[in-house]
């Protein structure tokens, strides 16, 4: 910092044709190269390998010589006779739909209300935000506590903890996904709310004031003043909603490792590598499906986000 004040008048066009010394080149190369290499080696190489391995049969016990080309066989099995796949994809889609229908609009609604600087606003905000710092694994334990059939909060409060009218929230394969989703929404709403609050802070309050001055009601001022200003945050929320629902894993894994009504793509993949029979090729085919779905959202997002940079 001190050097700034001592420096002579600065050159007019700083970024044009800068010459680097050999040392600077080496330094810059290492500074960008090491992190890049890590990301390529541990994230992108496995991502590509996932796709490649999905066309092989491999128990994973032996070396590479045990790999046998399988063509599309793994995919054929997944889409035709693998009984766990339809429920898994159904649950992932349900997760996605619920995340779009409940935490996203509710988070926006809460953010909009809290942005009005009500008295006690920061207390409300803190409480709604609390679940976000808890790990998803912990949310899994909380799900067990709250929805435990005989000892849980929900059944005891609603009088369903007795033997004759017991609701088995965690064991019943038609119900347990909903118990999990309620708790997942519990955490996700605060997350979305915080993002929208940040977005709302960037909306000029005088615009809303002006709208109400012009006789706009709350909905009109939201629809025409606030909503258009939230465009970039909306994209972030969409991406986070999609990614979080594809990543869903911890809560169901804590409850029953993702079986019996709680199958997800992520738990099927995990079962195929850390189970007793590790089927690398088959697991990779499942992972490729997950990868393709996520990239379908991630790549456009990254493209939209950085397009501005290319323009400027």
């Amino acid at each position: 910092m001190a050097s700034t004040t001592l420096s002579p008048p600065r050159p007019k066009a700083p970024n044009r044709l800068r010459r680097y010394t050999v040392r600077d080149r080496a330094a810059l190369g290492l500074m960008a190269g090491v992190p890049l290499l890590l990301s390529l080696a541990f994230v992108w190489l496995p991502a590509l390998a996932t796709v490649a391995l999905s066309f092989f049969n491999w128990t994973g016990i032996g070396g590479f010589s045990d790999m046998k080309p399988a063509g599309l066989e793994n995919y054929r099995i997944i889409f035709t006779i693998y009984p766990e796949f339809p429920p898994a994809i159904e649950h992932n889609l349900l997760w996605l739909a619920v995340f779009f229908v409940i935490p996203a609009p509710f988070g926006l609604f809460l953010a909009f209300q809290l942005n009005k600087r009500l008295r006690g606003s920061s207390i409300y905000q803190s409480i709604l935000f609390l679940p976000v710092v808890l790990s998803l694994a912990l949310v899994g334990f909380m799900t067990e506590l709250v929805f435990s059939p005989t000892e849980g909060l929900v059944n005891n409060l609603t009088g369903h903890a007795g033997q004759n009218n017991l609701i088995d929230w965690l064991g019943d394969p038609r119900l347990n996904i909903w118990a999990v989703l309620i708790m997942a929404c519990w955490r996700q709403t605060g997350y979305v709310m915080i993002l929208f609050l940040a977005g709302l802070k960037s909306v000029d309050p005088s615009l809303q004031e002006a709208a109400s001055l012009d006789g706009a009601n709350e909905w009109q001022s939201f629809r025409h003043v606030v909503w258009p200003a939230l465009r970039s945050i909306n994209i972030v929320v969409v991406v986070i909603t999609v990614i979080e629902s594809l990543r869903a894993f911890d809560i169901v894994y804590i409850i029953n490792q993702g079986t019996n009504g709680l199958q997800l793509l992520s738990t099927l993949i995990t079962a195929n590598i850390i189970g007793e029979t590790s089927r690398i090729g088959f697991g990779s085919a499942l992972a490729t499906i997950l990868l393709v779905i996520s990239l379908a959202f991630v790549l456009p997002y990254v493209y939209i986000t950085f397009r501005k940079d290319t323009r400027s």
Partner: protein, 310 residues
């Protein structure tokens, strides 16, 4: 519509604190009362699971058996906490968490700040591609890459100093590495955005004074990034500490697992009733709750730095 809004916006800002706006808020008083009621009820529902866990953890198992879990009465003490802490050897797992989280956090911030320096302070052709690789990599679901990663981890040998198991799999080093590789993406994204807001003249001046690129990074830019680094540190601490998946899959030795993942094994083995599980959960949540109470502002600004780009 937007044009109209900005036009009237200018008019309003010409006379700030206009009386009409005040009248408007006074007129909406019943609405405000209703809103407060709604928010209070929502917050009560929101805090209920945590309070229920806390309440359960304070009651001995015997009392909940006789009175039921949703009841008042019996004893209240910290015996579940001491039992969980001592019998399941929780200090060991906290130590594991520290061994993984602290180096992973420091390495992530260091590597990310270097990469961010290069892409934000220089105009190389590959900058954009690099940013895309980092950002997209961070957004992939972990399960989409775990299968080859697991094979890779079994295959890569490590000297005994770095790993008890002899390879990346089942070692602290392996877990630290995957956290760094995965989290660097997000941090590069955030830090690059932040560094762009620092005027170019500052490094320009340092360069004229003969400072090398490394010195410009280490002595000029990095100190200016303290707020962003603090925000990211709280966020990344929580994320790495809260990790369940990497530790579950890539660390087979139960005694070496960090606490978030270890809790799953300990349940059923040591924690047989809900009271003990609640107590253990509360203990595990303490570091993140400290972040929540002490550093909430940093945590939130870390999240939003990433969200509100440009």
């Amino acid at each position: 519509m937007t044009a109209a809004a900005t036009f009237t916006g200018k008019q309003a800002s010409a006379q700030p604190g206009s009386p009409a706006a005040k009248r408007g808020s006074r007129g909406a008083r019943p609405m405000r009362v209703f809103l407060h009621c709604f928010l209070i009820v929502t917050c009560l529902i929101w805090i209920a699971p945590v309070l229920y866990a806390l309440y359960t953890s304070l009651r001995p198992y015997a009392d909940t058996v006789t009175h039921g879990y949703v009841s008042v009465g019996g004893h209240y003490n910290f015996s579940n906490f001491t039992t969980a802490w001592n019998e399941a050897d929780l200090p060991l797992y906290f130590k594991n968490s520290a061994i993984i989280t602290i180096p992973a956090l420091l390495l992530t911030l260091w590597l990310a700040s270097m990469a961010a320096f290069v892409v934000s302070r220089h105009s190389f052709k590959f900058n954009l591609l690099m940013l895309m690789i980092f950002t997209a990599g961070n957004l992939l679901p972990q399960q989409a890459i775990i299968t080859p990663l697991y094979k890779l981890y079994i295959t890569i040998p490590l000297p005994a100093v770095l790993s008890d198991s002899g390879h990346l799999d089942d070692s602290f080093t392996g877990l630290i590495l995957i956290h760094v590789a995965f989290q660097t993406g997000f941090c590069v994204f955030v830090l690059a955005n932040f560094m762009r807001t620092i005027p170019g003249e500052i490094t320009e001046a340092a360069r004229v004074d003969g400072a090398s690129e490394w010195r410009q990074y280490w002595q000029v830019i990095l100190p200016l990034c303290r707020p962003a680094l603090a925000a990211l540190a709280t966020l990344e601490f929580t994320w790495i500490y809260n990790d369940f998946f990497w530790a579950t899959v890539l660390m087979q030795t139960g005694a070496n697992r960090p606490i978030t993942a270890a809790l799953n094994n300990l349940t059923g083995q040591f924690f047989t009733d809900n009271n003990l599980i609640s107590a253990a959960s509360m203990i595990v949540a303490i570091p993140t709750l400290v972040v929540f109470f002490a550093l909430q502002r940093q945590f939130v600004s870390g999240l939003t730095l990433g969200a509100s780009k440009g």
